[in-house]
């Protein structure tokens, strides 16, 4: 079958190869955009951690490192299952594609579930920014300088604002990604992908890997902050 007669071929392209190249390149450009989108928050993080190192240290101490580490492992595994799904798509193995994609959705959902548990802890401990924020939960008493203590107790709210903004935006990307993967899995079940045409699986995989990589940066930056000198 000629590549210009494939059912997925869109006529304004020259051939299926050009169509695939355009789709993949388009996703890379989109990811470039995403990096800058998160970049605004990472920039704010860099400025504020530099301004308020103690607030960030004490703030991070109240995050749940075991849960965060477990979630990191879950997300890395989901990248593996996604990659295996793309591999299966390239080979045209229908049931395998669906299986690996569903495994990815499962792992993504586990991540989000654990994130809900972590958020609830923060609500319970009054560590959500706003009027109910209670800096005494952070046990900053070991800061000896009273001016620094007062400043850090206030700035802890900035740390938690960034924590919720950054992890929230990341979670939103996963919440958008999961239905997309389910949709791609449904199309795979209908036999739409094979060695000749599987770029939807591939570019969805690219997106998912990007979202994972964002977390790989978020985990150490938010959870693993050493004591400032």
């Amino acid at each position: 079958m000629s590549s210009t007669h494939h059912p997925a071929f869109v006529h304004h392209f020259e051939n299926l190869g050009e169509q695939k190249e355009a789709a993949t390149f388009g996703m890379w450009v989109f990811i470039a955009q995403e990096i800058l989108f998160f970049g605004g928050l990472f920039g704010a993080y860099a400025v504020y951690r530099n301004l308020h190192p103690d607030a960030f240290y004490y703030g991070s101490h109240h995050l749940n490192i075991p849960l965060g580490a477990f979630n990191t492992a879950v997300l890395i595994c989901s990248s593996l299952t996604m990659a295996l799904g793309v591999h299966a798509a390239a080979l045209g193995k229908r049931t395998q594609i669906v299986g690996w994609l569903l495994a990815t959705v499962f792992l993504g959902s586990v991540f989000l579930g654990i994130k809900v548990v972590e958020y609830k802890e923060k609500f319970d401990h009054h560590l959500v920014p706003g009027t109910s924020f209670d800096a005494s939960q952070l046990h900053m008493e070991s800061i000896e300088d009273p001016a620094l203590l007062a400043k850090s107790q206030k700035a802890a709210q900035i740390y938690y604002s960034l924590y919720f903004a950054m992890t929230g935006l990341h979670a939103l990307h996963m919440i958008i990604g999961i239905p997309i993967i389910l949709w791609i899995a449904a199309r795979a079940w209908l036999g739409q992908f094979g060695p000749e045409y599987h770029s939807p699986v591939e570019i969805t995989g690219l997106y998912w890997h990007f979202v994972d990589i964002v977390w790989i940066f978020l985990f150490p930056l938010l959870y693993l902050i050493p004591k400032p000198h």
Binding site: H11, H12, F13, E14, E18, E21, A22, F25, G26, V29, F30, A32, Q33, E34, L36, F37, F38, G39, G40, L41, G43, A44, V47, Y48, L51, H52, A55, P129, G130, T131, K151, K154, A155, Q157, I158, S161, L162, F164, A165, L169
Partner: protein
């Protein structure tokens, strides 16, 4: 697959007017054939209609500003209403008119045709970007109807997060959403230009209009997301009381300014670079000459895009940014003058010994060169730290950026709309009225904004609804100019609309211009080309003969009303 070699004398093969044949306008009928179209040309028309409405809305707010400033006392509107007027004028004109204007209308229509493609790479995403724009505009309109917003278009914190009682959240969400329209347009252009050029169309054979849009798209992709997340942070801070910029908690308002201008300075180049692309097309077409220094103009677009990302701090010389940062930003800002001057010199050199003719698009182009030069040179005043401290937040700044945004971007937009109108609609507009309008726009513009350089240099601050008596003469001049400009903008609306019904039918190439878009019928068919075009020559391959007369085979159309 059949191929057709585009020859030097492309007029020979020109298929003429297509209004009586099948074309993209009559290919399908009904409102849904427009609202659900994926044809880049129809989407360009959707954008044309919507941004024209936004332009007149923004103009109405400006009219309010200028009427208030007729008299020194704040007597027409109170200070709160005045703050809303200039804020809404800025937001509408920047985010909902200038940023989409040339890329979303002319770029959308022309880029696939200029590179010999049937459509943009992602036609559905192209349509989606229009709907996203409409959703953003809808949020902004709701904010307007419920009383507007008065933070200035810059949304500076902590005023916007902690003190303003107006609809900051709605307006911010509208801008956030419309940003993604701009991002998706840029993404579509970049992929299309990389992957879908016709055989033989190498990078350095592309029309400079395409180069300019490529550079613009880079800024849209790499700048817009930063302002999107920043505006989102402002909205979230107001909504959820997070403390991202709150000075009471140790937050840094200067950080907001850094994040805001990181996009919003490059955004100036989103507005002007496509206009520079239009300029290169107009100048070559109406001098019938190869452009002087093609590679330099092409690369200078990329240079403006890259250096433009490194100058944002010149908006913050008096904001408490460190002096050393200010010095670096000042030096980098001077650097942008180099690629900008490269363009102006090369356009001027193209005019030299060319067969210059004065059709209305060329009148706008010549106006652009003069006004952009004034706008650019006064930008150097403001890039100098010492002088900027005197002129910061005065009408000098207002005049400077209007010379770029109106004298540059809108002149190029109007010139481009006239130049490609026959291609877009298949009709000629009345040249006489177009020339009258061009002269009036030029006169009205200068009368509006030149006095503002003077009144700003004398010390009149921007953003106040009242001012000392001695500034009244200059302000009345400015308001008189704005009235003239407003009328001058209405004239093209009337004759262009008239031409749709009664204009002379346009040939395929009314100007005798080069470029793939002039080799196909006016208006084009849905898939633009009957056969895949093959490009065998560089752009602007006008017959070089040093003759001062027009090529008799391609007389410029003179359609008088």
């Amino acid at each position: 697959m059949q191929t057709e070699v585009v020859t030097t004398n492309s007029e020979d093969a020109a298929p003429g007017n297509g209004l009586d044949r099948e074309n993209y306008i009559n290919a399908k009928h009904g409102i849904w054939s427009w609202l659900l179209t994926t044809d880049h040309k129809r989407i360009a028309i959707l954008y044309l209609i919507t941004i024209t409405l936004m332009f007149f809305l923004g103009g109405a707010f400006a009219a309010g500003v200028r009427l208030e400033l007729m008299t020194p006392k704040g007597d027409l509107v109170d200070s709160d209403a005045y703050n809303k007027l200039f804020t809404m004028h800025g937001i509408v004109m920047v985010f909902f008119f200038l940023i989409p204007s040339i890329p979303a209308v002319l770029g959308n229509f022309l880029i696939p045709i200029m590179i010999g493609a049937k459509d943009l790479a992602f036609p559905k995403i192209n349509l989606l970007s229009w709907y996203i724009y409409m959703a953003g505009a809808a949020f902004f309109m709701v904010a307007t109807l419920f009383g507007g917003v008065e933070t200035g278009w810059t949304f500076y914190t902590p005023y916007s997060t902690a003190f303003s009682h107006t609809n900051v959240i709605l307006a911010a969400v509208g801008i956030f959403i419309s940003g993604f329209s701009s991002i998706l347009t840029g993404l579509n252009f970049i992929v299309t230009i990389h992957k879908m050029r016709a055989p033989g169309l190498t990078w350095f054979r592309m029309p400079l209009f395409v180069w300019a849009h490529y550079a613009t798209s880079l800024i849209q992709i790499l700048g817009t997301p930063v302002v999107a997340v920043t505006i989102l942070m402002v909205a979230v801070e107001r909504l959820l009381k997070l403390g991202l910029f709150d000075p009471a908690l140790g937050g840094d308002p200067i950080l907001f300014q850094h994040l805001f201008w990181f996009y919003s300075h490059p955004a100036v180049y989103i507005m002007i670079l496509p206009g520079m692309g239009v300029m290169s097309e107009l100048i070559t077409a109406f001098t019938r000459k190869r452009v002087f220094g093609y590679e330099f103009i092409a690369i200078s677009s990329l240079a403006i895009a890259v250096v433009g990302f490194l100058v944002w701090g010149h908006h913050m010389f008096v904001s408490g940014q460190s002096t050393y940062a200010g010095m670096v930003f000042s030096a980098l800002s001077f650097l942008v003058a180099i690629p900008s001057a490269v363009k102006v010199f090369n356009w001027s050199a193209t005019l030299y010994k060319g067969s210059v003719s004065w059709e209305s698009p060329m009148m706008y182009a010549i106006g652009f060169i003069g006004l952009f030069t004034i706008g650019g040179l006064t930008g150097l005043f403001l890039a100098a730290m010492g002088l900027d401290i005197h002129m910061h937040d005065t009408y000098f700044v207002v005049a400077h950026f209007h010379y770029i945004m109106v004298g540059g971007a809108i002149f190029a937009y109007l010139g481009g709309i006239h130049f490609w109108w026959p291609k877009i609609t298949g009709r000629m507009y009345p040249e006489y009225w177009a020339r009258v309008a061009a002269v009036l726009v030029f006169a009205g513009f200068n009368l509006t904004f030149f006095p503002q350089f003077v009144v700003g240099y004398l010390g009149m601050p921007r953003r106040y609804h009242a001012y000392p008596d001695e500034f009244q003469v200059l302000n009345v001049m400015s308001t008189a100019g704005a009235s003239l400009l407003g009328i001058a903008y209405l004239i093209p609306m009337l004759y262009l609309t008239w031409s749709l019904f009664a204009g002379k039918k346009a040939p395929a190439n009314p100007w005798g211009a080069k470029g793939l878009e002039w080799t196909i019928q006016s208006p084009p068919t849905t898939f633009n080309f009957e056969h895949q075009p093959v490009v065998t020559e560089e752009a602007y391959a006008y017959a070089e003969g040093h003759d001062t007369t027009h090529d008799p085979a391609a007389p410029p159309a003179q359609a008088h009303a």
